[in-house]
């Protein structure tokens, strides 16, 4: 099928319609900027009712009784449900998978049953004609609780005296894993220098601009459940809703309209969303639930929450001999369904030290339960912890040896000519470019100039520091990520593309749009491959009734997997078009091509427009010889085979100023060199990197879910939970190295995780570089002014 002569080189700028590799403006941006985006909360259906959840005010308590009578009597209230009602139509679930060893997480019910296990857990739901009325009545639901001891601190989770959250499990352990390559014990003995550090990472969350939202509409006449949901994986939700509400999967339709940011927050199964679907079934009417900001903070999944001990051993030449980590993480009272809450720690174990040649590697991860909001995968899963511990130790080792940090990295990085190879933890790696990236970064940053600037500043009493870090990034996962463990999550994605009677081209894709430009990227690939003008191409996505089956958008898989499906489908359609044109134009296929919406003859002479060709096919098919294959629609699928993930890599650096009076850190500049293979739209790639860096700055300096000693979240609002804002953001300078993935024709890898994964380590190392003259360091993120001043002994 693939005639390479017919398929010009990707991104060849000298031919018409070469959209791949160009920063084509995306038309959807205009729609969003004009306020014309359509979000779940914009959905208004006849007879639609509104839900408000009554949530647990306690971190851990027994439910002695629930009285809904007064709430039910409140004017405007349609009904009030508890687990007794909901469990009749919605079965419980368990957040465990089969491929990563034993996971111990109990059954989780859609509403709390007998016991509440985190502050914010839904206990009852009020259905009313308006949200405000439902909230009024929520205050009238009387729940009698008996307070239980809360298990909050992950470090004491396994102590004998600590309250066990799930009695049946016997203790608070969810999951543990060890990796052991080589012999670290012996290697540490042989090391010239051994350095250690312990890092802490606070809990934080995704803070999407649009909060979680769902409208469920049960049509009892068709037995059909239509769900408007601002998620990232419509087909996963289709399968899960069908399973737990005992519906025919083909009769569950998930529609994801515009989504206002997701960052992994919206790829999980939430009790309140499942209950919303159940309520629609019970009441035979459409119902809407939109999480408010308070609910977002206390019920959206949280992330990070790690304490990690790391140790590095280096010989006198600066070669790393051994690397060891011991990571502890707390995940709330349940492992989150269906992806589980083991993946972040698993990634920490897989990704630590992954940029370097390290013959002896040992890693241990322990994941425990807590009476706090459930924790699960959020952008750059595990990366910030893995990168920060690795790069902190690398800096420490280089400094202890008195070696330049850049030179130290260069002698330890996995060389660009050594692929395929494996990470120290044993995960396959291919097509990476650490050396090329760090060399480019060194030039961009002008390190010798920075050293001079640092020295001059110090003479004036100013503490400046800079960093250089390396990282790998997990993107484009294969079935090895979730499917192999039993989760209904497709690793394959599909695209269907058709030429219409008007000459317009229409793609439908299983990849969803969360505001990052999916539509634009798919348009570019199709227009480039077909030879049409980009404004000829329309895109449908986010509707299980209208798109091919697929995994959706997460783990930076949209462009690399979904884009490849579009590329393959476009090539099939083009082949069909040329075959039909050859008949119409009485020409050899090889003499034809498509450019600017026209089939042209390569040797000159009259062509035919795609519109005319389509109209012959659709309206006047009798003009074609009998038996002509006149299909103007083509479909293709793609998934990654032969490797668990398509890794990408990047190098980053930053320059900071630490004010030793106030403890405030100012990031003066940030640099990133990313290798995501083929860039379909460089501007979108760069904005993914910049946006990711900003989110990483959030984790490094600002964001933290703060709990009191009773397990109450105390800063669930935008005034007290600090997100990074424009005023504080530095210039973020981005450049690229391009090493195409050999796993696809397109060669694209993902670009969404790098910034968030790399920035926290880069910032921490830069701050610690600034603090060297003061003989202290910071090891806990977010690195607040107070922590800096404490490290300095000023408070």
């Amino acid at each position: 099928m693939d005639d390479l002569n017919q398929n010009p080189k990707l991104g060849a700028a000298d031919r018409p319609n070469s959209y791949i590799g160009r920063s084509v403006p995306r038309e959807r941006a205009k729609k969003l900027l004009e306020g014309k985006g359509k979000y779940v909360d914009d959905i208004l259906l006849p007879r639609m009712a509104h839900l408000s959840y009554v949530r647990s005010p306690f971190a851990h308590a027994k439910i002695k009784s629930i009285n809904t009578e007064n709430a039910k009597k409140y004017p405007g209230v349609l009904n009030v449900f508890t687990i007794d009602d909901i469990e009749k139509v919605c079965s419980p679930w368990q957040g465990v998978l089969g491929h990563l060893g034993e996971m111990r997480s109990p059954t989780q019910y859609p509403l709390a049953k007998d016991i509440v296990r985190w502050q914010g857990e839904p206990v009852a739901v009020v259905v009313a004609n308006k949200r405000a009325v439902a909230e009024d009545a929520s205050e009238l639901v009387e729940i009698d609780y008996e307070d239980l001891d809360a298990q909050l601190d992950m470090e004491t989770a396994m102590d004998k005296s600590t309250r066990v959250i799930h009695d049946d499990l016997g203790n608070n352990l969810f999951w543990t894993r060890t990796v052991n390559q080589g012999d670290v014990g012996e290697a540490f003995k042989q090391s010239h220098i051994v350095e250690e550090v312990t890092l802490d990472f606070a809990r934080h969350t995704g803070v999407t601009l649009e909060t979680r939202a769902i409208v469920a509409d049960w049509d009892s006449s068709e037995e059909k459940m239509t769900v408007y949901h601002n998620g990232q994986a419509p087909h996963m939700m289709q399968s899960i809703i069908a399973k737990h509400l005992n519906l025919s999967e083909g009769l569950v339709r998930i529609i994801s309209c515009d989504v206002g940011g997701s960052f992994g927050i919206k790829v999980h199964v939430y009790p309140d969303e499942m209950v919303t679907v159940a309520v629609s079934k019970l009441m035979k009417r459409p119902v809407k639930f939109v999480a408010d900001r308070l609910e977002s903070y206390s019920t959206d999944i949280h992330s990070r929450c790690h304490k990690i001990l790391g140790k590095i051993g280096v010989n006198d030449k600066g070669k790393i001999l051994a690397f060891e980590i011991d990571d502890l993480s707390g995940i709330g009272p349940f492992s989150v369904y269906p992806r589980t809450s083991a993946i972040e720690t698993n990634q920490v174990l897989n990704l630590s030290a992954a940029s370097y040649i390290i013959p002896n590697y040992k890693a241990k991860g322990t994941v425990v339960f807590q009476n706090k909001t459930p924790m699960c995968q959020y952008r750059a899963v595990g990366h910030p912890i893995a990168v920060a511990i690795t790069e902190a130790l690398v800096d420490k080792a280089a400094n202890a040896l008195g070696m330049d940090r850049y030179e130290f990295r260069k002698i330890n990085l996995i060389p660009d000519n050594s692929y395929p190879t494996k990470t120290p933890s044993g995960v396959p790696l291919e097509d990476l470019s650490h050396e090329a990236c760090i060399e480019k970064l060194e030039k961009m940053m002008n390190i010798s100039q920075l050293e001079k600037y640092k020295k001059e500043s110090l003479a004036k009493g100013k503490y400046k520091g800079f960093s250089i870090i390396n990282m790998v990034e997990v993107t484009n996962p294969s079935p090895a990520f979730y499917g192999v463990g039993g989760a209904p999550i497709s690793s394959q994605d599909g695209a269907s593309i058709r030429l219409e009677g008007s000459g317009a081209v229409h793609i439908s894709t299983s990849i969803t749009e969360q505001g990052q430009g999916t539509e634009a990227v798919m348009q570019q690939i199709a227009a480039d491959q077909l030879g049409v003008k980009i404004d000829t191409v329309r895109v449908t996505h986010g509707d299980t009734d209208a798109t091919p089956y697929g995994g959706g958008t997460w783990a930076s898989r949209g462009a690399g997997i979904g884009g490849e499906a579009v590329l393959k489908a476009s090539r099939k359609l083009k082949e069909n078009i040329l075959n039909i044109a050859a008949v119409i134009m009485q020409s050899e296929v090889n003499n034809l091509d498509v450019q600017n919406d026209q089939v042209i003859r390569k040797d000159g002479g009259e062509g035919i427009s795609l519109k005319d060709l389509a109209q012959i096919v659709y309206y006047r098919g009798h003009e074609l010889p009998p038996g002509t294959n006149a299909e103007l629609i083509a479909t293709a699928s793609f998934s990654i085979e032969g490797i668990p993930f398509v890794f990408t890599n990047s190098a980053m650096g930053c320059l900071v100023d630490v004010d030793v009076d106030t403890g405030l850190t100012k990031i003066e500049k940030f640099w990133a060199v990313e290798d995501c293979g083929t860039q379909i739209n460089p501007k979108l790639v760069e904005e993914q990197i910049r946006g990711g860096v900003v989110q990483g700055i959030g984790g490094a300096l600002y964001e933290e879910c703060i709990y009191d000693e009773m397990g109450n979240l105390t800063n669930g609002n935008m005034a007290d939970y600090l997100v990074p804002m424009a005023y504080e953001m530095p210039d973020i300078i981005v450049d690229h190295v391009t090493t195409n993935s050999g796993r696809s024709i397109l060669g694209a890898k993902g670009a969404g995780e790098a910034g968030t994964g790399g920035a926290p380590g880069a910032i921490m190392n830069a701050i610690n570089d600034a603090l060297i003259p003061l003989n202290t360091e910071v090891t806990s993120q977010p690195i607040t002014p107070e922590k800096v001043l404490k490290a300095l002994g000023k408070i």
Partner: protein, 279 residues
């Protein structure tokens, strides 16, 4: 986060607003709504009626009268920042207001609202205390004046009676040759300060004759620091001594942004910055 039901009343004039306020103890004045509306939506308060004073034009004026700069309660922060008279008489106000939240909030948020709400972390109450502003309250029995120093009684507690409305704030233009200082330490631009200081110094032949310090974000109201001022009149700035003296002056109260120790430290740093800038 939908507020409980409430009535809305758009007052025609001040007398109208006072009448409604007098007749209903649970009525609340709606100015710019930048603090009130979030508290309603978070169901932290449930007033019976919001009396909107936004269409009373006499409350939106900035005037100079009898050596006072007078700000109507409904002047927005942006309006004040763009006012020539204000920028001539109190250039420091522009610098201070630029740290109040963000432009969208400054376009809606009002001078009277900030003074009346009395958030201990807000800049304007501290400024009013520092420059001896007079706060004009109107009630059923007419107008009365309360000195800013007497106005703040405790956490979000002020001298406003339940049937009164804050109508304007009068700032004495003649500050007796005082040089004014403002600075604050925030995690992000526009955040409530971990600690902030407005201060003034009067000098004669480079000798400090009078020093005033008012801190915000440090306790339950704008905090004056008389002992520290006294210390500074007699001694050179010394970080440790100042921090100790400040702890005698102020009961530093921790909040979610910083511990009391942090606030004491930052306050001492701010005093150092002021002495350096104004001396």
């Amino acid at each position: 986060m939908k507020s409980p039901a409430f009535s809305y009343y758009q007052a025609k004039d001040l007398a109208d607003a006072i009448n409604i306020k007098k007749s209903d103890d649970d009525a609340v004045i709606l100015a710019g709504g930048q603090s009130l509306l979030p508290t309603l939506n978070m169901r932290l308060s449930s007033p019976s009626v919001l009396i909107d004073i936004g269409s009373i034009n006499e409350l939106k004026k900035i005037k100079v009268e009898d050596s006072y700069l007078i700000m109507g309660a409904m002047c927005s922060h942006s309006q004040i920042m763009n006012n020539k008279e204000v920028n001539e008489k109190f250039p420091i106000l522009n610098k201070l207001l630029a740290q109040v939240a963000h432009p969208a909030i400054r376009n809606k948020g009002t001078h009277g609202g900030s003074i009346a709400y009395g958030d201990p972390a807000a800049e304007l109450p501290a400024f009013a205390v520092l420059v001896n502003a007079e706060i004009i309250l109107s009630g059923p029995d007419g107008e009365r004046t309360v000195s800013a120093k007497e106005f703040y009684k405790g956490l979000f507690e002020t001298a406003i009676n339940s049937d009164e409305i804050l109508t304007s704030v009068k700032y004495p233009i003649n500050q007796n040759g005082m040089k004014l200082f403002f600075d604050e330490v925030t995690r992000r631009h526009g955040d409530y300060a971990m600690a902030g200081l407005v201060g003034s110094i009067k000098q004669n032949n480079k000798i400090n004759e009078e020093i005033n310090l008012v801190f915000f974000g440090t306790g339950d109201r704008p905090n004056e620091a008389p002992k520290t001022c006294e210390y500074l009149l007699k001694n050179e700035y010394n970080y440790s001594d100042i921090k100790d003296t400040l702890k005698n002056d102020i009961d530093f109260a921790s909040d979610i942004s910083s511990s009391s120790d942090m606030k004491a430290h930052l306050s001492a740093i701010l005093v150092g910055r002021m002495m350096k800038e104004l001396n």
